[in-house]
Amino acid sequence: MAVTANSEIHRFPQYKYIDAVRWLPVLSAFNRFAVLATSDFDSNLSSIEIHSFKPNPLSFEFQSSWTSPSPISSIKSSQFLQKSIIASSTSSGSLHFLFADSTDARLVSEVSVPENELHLEGKCCIDLMDGGVECVTVGDDGRINLVTVGDSNLNYRRLFDSGGLVSYTSVKWASPVEFATGGYGFGLHWWDQRKPGGPVSQFKGNWDKNLNSGIVHSIDIHPSRKHTCLAAGSLGTVLAWDLRMQQQPIILSGTGAGDGAGNTAVQSISESEVWEVQYDRCIKSNTSSTRILPAMICSEDGILGVIEQGEEPIELLAEPCAINSFDIDRHNPLDVICSLEWESVAILTRQ
């Protein structure tokens, strides 16, 4: 059974669907901002909204917004020089970069790549390099693109095109030249910009039949352990794929992982889709260096929790509806923001 953790929880109804949520990294120590990708079904408008969060007195106020041409499928935020960058991809295949003032989160400018340039219509996923201007985009259509963002211009090139034979559902930078992608059948691929033409390494999920029938929804790679790729997806599965031990993934959670090699008695924090995974930024000092670092997940069955190798999972939030995305504040790792299926946002402050 999962352990329940104490935390202060605030829910803010938004009266529109939240596709994804991120904290916006800013320079100011006093202001906290969240970025929401919203879909208003009444007016048929999709937008990126910036809200300011104040814990005392409690408020979550709308600051500014930008209207997106179509629903947002993926959103990432980062900081570069004196600006905060929000990168988003839409379901029609376009890509947009918004630049915000890094003290008051005012939206300053926007550059975009129109639809059908990078991706065909369908779901695509992006990752923005930490503190950089390099963005990788992958899509259902099997294309992998690299986009370099300048102040007012964009450069992009196609790294690979599977022609739809393989679809990619998630991506994450590992280093300035390497990244990992995830897809159907729990396929994980490792790519190197310097070696185009195909993945440099593939994770074969063949050893487990259940795992093979899932989809990877999210990947995370810790900057201090670039050889380990953390992936989460269907059937509550969360696994760590170590490039140095290719055939033996470490299962951290999952119903389909009963008899994986060396993974006896793995507890499952969720039984359904794990929509997002991130290494927990708030790490206890006694974490062993040989173990996989603790990770936070959110799932379709309404769980927001932390899992750690060989430990009981910790439940931070158990909602009656799905938790579709979350983000850990990089400056205050105790604060977590998540988006709930029932048109609201929750902010947790862990004790």
Binding site: Y15, D42, D140, G164, S167, N206, I215, E273
Partner: protein
């Protein structure tokens, strides 16, 4: 123009004369310059209609738009709660509803005797009702100021809504058995909270108070204003003691500079204020700080009541009144005493409409009354005394409840508050009486064999299903419907779009929860074909594999093979690796795609043969080749290229690699292929012209060597 449509979409005139209230007219604002010739109407999202208007064809080319599509939202919706807020209520009521349903089934499984079931069931329903009530609370009107405004008479914490008022009214009458003994007092509280809602249709005490409060700054000598006394007697008649006492203390005689020469007058005002604040009430406890003395047991209350009344009578007969020289104060205060003494005439003038009069009767004329039947008669009497000028959505409900007519109550809430209310309030109705339970749970022939409860739940589920954001909670209500629920649930799940993976996975998750494997398998099949058609071959194959649809996979395979690289040297085969990886182990159904797997294995070992010269690798390659040729899923058009690629194996120098039977198998295949060549529509593989003969030669040589070897 008010067009009406018939089947073929032509317009017929509509006469506006049939002035029927049940007809709602929605004007369409289109910008077509030419007259409309045809209409097409279809359902859009929710309760919107999509109307396509086609203009008459014009001769000139620049006559503006030829057609226009307009969405018309039907029904005005609830004026006090907008769509987004209804969704918030819908989301929030899921958990309490589901909990109550699971408790119901747990209890009915545990004990069959209805007596224990009835015993504490209402407590569960009460908990459910409280949770729903907290959900219906309107927006908070900011934090209350720290310093009390002396001129603020009416305090507001939140904006009241009719929906919440109706819900609480039902809770008071049907659910809360514990406070049944002080039901009138609960109604007093109810009116105090919701009197302002009635302001929309008639004058109310609340409205009068607010008006007076707004004028307060302009009034010089408050006790000379007749409205001051009028408003106080009104507030007292419905038991708003705090307000009355607070207003009395605004009396001019309390001012320091006047205290000395108006001592007697001030004494009388204070005496009345004290009496008001000591009014005995039959209730457990009032909200913190509220005036009045509360008594839990009836005998104590009766004793206190008689004592209090005698004190009032004593004050009323006091000689001090004659000495009081301020006439306004004297008349006003004595009128307040008359209200407290239960003077029918005073009460009737003090109250604005029948519900207020009704409440004042409970407080001052029949403080000991309990029993719904006498309450109904009293209500009838009050309606006669103050005939309503219009109907309010809450009064209809109140009369229905007092008349103990479940069907009327159901009809009222259905008409006034919509499907959400009926589906959820049924639980309150049935907690109240066995009779209502029988009425609502009885399966009815005229409803197609379902009960009224089920009917209303289905209707609500239908509303939920029609919106993209709420359809996911409809299954919770559908599965609580024994007869028709599952069928409609299957329909609902089939109807969802498979376009977006997230939506699809949420859909499949619901199937998993309710063990509807056959549906999820069908949905995955649809998704597979969808992705396939949109060029996402990998995703298509994945979903078809998930749905175990080998038929479809076979068909797909034939199309796929057209684009597979056919020769060993073909680089394009590399990109198939990902897809083959996806196909996974052989235990999974891949249909005709199994070929790809074997083909890949064959190619790999053949590549090893070409790079090195190991006989082991060659033997492995031969094994793969035989497997491929034996397998019925290997398409015929691949036979020749496969054999051509294997020429090196067939001509292996060291020793023959194929046995006699294996060579015979390949020869047979070659024969079969040659026959197939004669048929029409045969497409010749792209190979050198001497390919067939060189294969034949190699096979014959190999056969000879193999026979010698054996």
């Amino acid at each position: 123009m008010s067009p009406n449509t018939v089947d073929n979409g032509t317009l017929i005139p509509f006469s506006g004369e049939t002035n029927n209230d049940s007809l709602a007219i929605y004007p369409l604002h289109h910008t077509l310059t030419r007259p409309v010739s045809r209409l097409a109407i279809s359902w859009s999202r929710g309760n919107s209609l999509r109307v396509s208007l086609f203009a008459e064809p014009s001769q000139t080319s620049d006559a503006g738009d030829g057609a226009k599509v307009i969405e018309v939202k039907l029904g005005g919706g609830d004026p006090e709660i907008d769509d987004a807020d209804w969704r918030r209520i819908a989301y929030g009521s899921v958990a309490p509803f589901a909990l109550l349903q699971s408790r119901r089934s747990a209890i009915s499984n545990m004990s069959k005797s209805p007596s224990t079931y009835q015993l504490d069931w209402w407590e569960h329903v009460l908990q459910y009702s409280k949770e729903i009530t907290s959900l219906l609370a309107g927006p908070k009107l900011g934090p209350s100021p720290i310093i009390d405004d002396p001129n603020e008479i009416v305090k507001k914490n939140e904006e009241p809504t009719c929906l919440k008022a109706a819900w609480e009214l039902m809770e008071i009458f049907y659910v809360d058995k514990q406070s049944q003994a002080w039901l009138p007092e609960r109604l007093v509280d109810w009116l105090a909270d919701y009197d302002s809602l009635f302001t929309s249709t008639q004058e109310t005490i609340h409205g009068k108070l607010v008006d007076f409060q707004n004028d307060l700054v302009n009034i010089q000598v408050i006790e000379d204003d007749p409205r001051y006394w009028e408003v106080m007697s009104s507030a007292l008649s419905v038991g708003w003691l705090d307000i009355v006492v607070k207003m009395l203390r605004l009396h001019g005689s309390y001012q320091l500079d006047q205290l000395s020469n108006r001592e007697l007058e001030n004494g009388l005002v204070e005496a009345v204020a004290v009496l008001i604040s000591k009014m005995p009430r039959l209730r457990p406890e009032s909200a913190a700080g509220n005036l009045g003395e509360c008594f839990k047991s009836k005998p104590d209350f009766i004793k206190a009541w008689e004592k209090w009344r005698s004190q009032i009578t004593k004050l009323d007969c006091s000689p001090f009144w004659i000495q009081c020289d301020n006439q306004q104060t004297r008349v006003g205060l004595r009128n307040l005493l008359q209200v407290m003494l239960g003077n029918t005439e005073s009460l009737c003038t003090a109250s604005c409409y029948w519900v207020e009069l009704y409440i004042s009767h409970f407080l001052y004329i029949r403080p000991f009354m309990i029993g719904v039947e006498s309450m109904y008669n009293l209500a009838q009497k009050c309606i006669q005394l103050k005939p309503p000028t219009g109907t309010h959505r809450l009064t209809g409900l109140l009369i229905g409840i007092l008349g103990e007519n479940t069907e009327v109550v159901l009809a009222e809430i259905s008409r006034e508050f919509g499907p959400w209310m009926v589906a959820h309030a049924v639980e309150l109705l049935t907690a109240g009486s066995e009779q209502a339970e029988i009425l609502l749970y009885d399966e009815r022939y005229n409803l197609g064999g379902i009960s009224m409860v089920e009917l209303h739940r289905l209707a609500y589920a239908q509303v939920l299903s029609s919106h993209a954001l709420t359809w996911q909670i409809a299954p919770i209500y559908l599965t609580s419907c024994m007869k028709q629920g599952m069928g409609l649930l299957e329909n609902l799940l089939y109807r969802q779009s498979v376009q977006h993976n997230n939506m699809l996975l949420k859909n499949i998750e619901i199937c998993r929860l309710y063990e509807l494997d056959h549906i999820s398998s069908n949905i995955m099949k649809v998704a597979g074909v969808y992705h396939w058609k949109h060029g996402r071959k990998g995703a298509g194959v994945f979903w078809l594999q998930q749905s175990q649809d080998t038929n479809c996979l076979d068909r797909i395979a034939q199309q796929l093979f057209d684009s597979v690289g056919k020769s060993i040297s073909d680089e394009s085969f590399k990109q198939w690796e990902g897809l083959i990886e996806l196909l996974g182990s052989e235990s999974k159904p891949a249909g005709g795609l199994e070929f790809l797997h074997k083909y890949r294995d064959f190619k790999k070992s053949l590549q090893m043969v070409y790079s090195g010269k190991s006989t082991d690798a060659a033997r492995q390659a031969v094994g793969s080749l035989i497997l491929l040729m034996k397998n019925p899923s290997t398409p015929q058009r691949f036979w020749l290229p496969l054999l051509f690629d294997s020429l090196k194996l067939l001509n292996w120098k060291d020793s023959p690699l194929l046995s006699v039977s294996e060579t015979n198998l390949l020869l047979n295949k070659l024969q079969e292929f040659s026959l197939a060549r004669q048929r029409p529509h045969f497409t010749e593989p792209n190979l050198p012209p001497q390919a067939l003969s060189s294969i034949r030669l190699a096979l014959a040589t190999n056969l000879g060597r193999a026979i010698l070897d054996e």
